[in-house]
Point group: C2
Chain length 334, copies 2
Amino acid sequence: MAVTMHDVARAAGVSLKTVSNVLNDYEFIRDSTRAKVQKAIEELGYEANLTARSLRSGKTRMLGLVLSDLSVPYYAELASRLMTVASEAGYRVLVEQSNAGAANELAALHGPFRQLTDGLLFTPLALDADTIDARRGSKPLVMLGEHILDPRFDLVTMKNKEAAQAITAHLLAGGRRRIAVLGADAVDDADSPGLRLVGYRAALESAGVAFDPALVVPCEWRRDGGAAAVAALHSREVEFDAVFGLNDAVALGAMHELLVRGVKVPEDVAVAGFDDIDEASYSSPSLTTVSPGMDEIAKRSLQLLLDRINGKEAAPDGVHIESDFTLKIRSSAP
Amino acid sequence: MAVTMHDVARAAGVSLKTVSNVLNDYEFIRDSTRAKVQKAIEELGYEANLTARSLRSGKTRMLGLVLSDLSVPYYAELASRLMTVASEAGYRVLVEQSNAGAANELAALHGPFRQLTDGLLFTPLALDADTIDARRGSKPLVMLGEHILDPRFDLVTMKNKEAAQAITAHLLAGGRRRIAVLGADAVDDADSPGLRLVGYRAALESAGVAFDPALVVPCEWRRDGGAAAVAALHSREVEFDAVFGLNDAVALGAMHELLVRGVKVPEDVAVAGFDDIDEASYSSPSLTTVSPGMDEIAKRSLQLLLDRINGKEAAPDGVHIESDFTLKIRSSAP
DNA sequence: CTGAAAGCGCTTACAG
DNA sequence: CTGAAAGCGCTTACAG
């Protein structure tokens, strides 16, 4: 049996409430009383029972993080940073992997997972805004990423269009004219791929280069997706002098496939990505990409969520935070 | 206010205990009673309060996972698999990052983190066996990795020595004679680096190749560590025709640095790693490495922990599980 | 500034 | 097979 507040109260010769007051930093306690209680806590090695505290207070001091798959480097790096920031604020992060499945996303939105957390950082990939709004529950919910862009929600996003436009402009400035885009459907939508494609087209237009739908190849946002997309371009005999992978994994997979096929990077084909995961600095050649400001995203999304939890942010509509980006020019597209 | 068991009991016209029996799949309930209760649960949308259940039962159905840094690909991939396996067993995984610091490891071993979990998967890097044993607490604890090899603990390890020996033998069979080892001190100890170094030396000996301490370069097990180690070898003008990075990150960082310096891989220098992270298949050239059986490690370590929690594994001494390895021969060292 | 009491929502002996 | 009661260890009004 663990030591309880009762034991501490008895040892210190005070009531339960007084122990509670000391534990919760209540202001008006006589110094002598506080000292007695703290001495008893030390001597008995008392540790507050978090479960009991949660049951009574209704707060768990855990935050939920829903993402598709923790083994995806971008998510792993984001989760790691979020945990660090959360821990400084006295919170833990409980991760739930959705595998981008609607059923899993729905399950994370209420049910046990939600119950265990005081607020949710949610990267939706399958559900739409109305579905989420209908089941959002009463606890704070902050959306990460671009799948949902709806003023009803708190959103933390990156400047997808502007960043994609900037990196495409960089490729164009390097003399590239046939820039393949890997990871988007030719259909424009408001999702991350769609927004990045819009940026790509805007850059082409500014440079007076015609858009060729044959250069747009849909694929999974993974290394093998990028590799398969390059293979598809080759088998269709589409010519290109640059590749813009809509995330780093796609770009790195594409680069691998190009090099395997004897294509020189960047001499024959320049390669650019998006995310600036750690690996991008250490690939060979190192990968030109966009840094979407992951530190800023981690810090500000967590702060927003905590402000909602503590009632410090009271805007009735959603707050929209957009992180800044920077171009990382490396060897794959100098 | 959420719906409680009281509400369900009232709606179904039964007692609290009966509702509890239905929820906990107690055998001897009349079908008609069970049906009544289930109907009430459905209609009211009742969900059990996990915090209350935990307080009463002393079980949280959460498992702790302590590792140095979730943004390290090997740990991210392991955590992802563990979460998937745990979730199938009805458990969640709470991750704690230690940054390989003794204070953090100690804090994870008891205190709030331990309280929140029914058992711990622990990757110690800083603490020694005696310190851990003194504070291990009463809840199940399974050690991952080789830092602690002590029969007092349940251990899940990989065949470090044998695997390192096998991959070194592969490099030797390819005609390499000056194989640099990155990521070990020249001192043999029983830790992962030490064991892998022992395997390396055993392979040299079998092949009748003399061991040269100048080829052993200590470094952090990260991409930048591998890169720095290659730079150090070059500045010391040590000649070598192969690199064995003691994990994939080191090998990939080393390969990057070699290519940047105009060294051809594998023509001039062959490169091999250890771990078989996803990235190893997609680097350029793709990385020859050892797959330590991460799926097996995830499954068996979790099973062992659950068996301890449920009292199914009662061996008084620690159980030692060793996963099998396979060589992955790729382009960096064919 | 401190105390006595109630109650968060469950599970678990104990009866019957 | 089911019920009434106690209690897990806290926090929170309510008094004083």
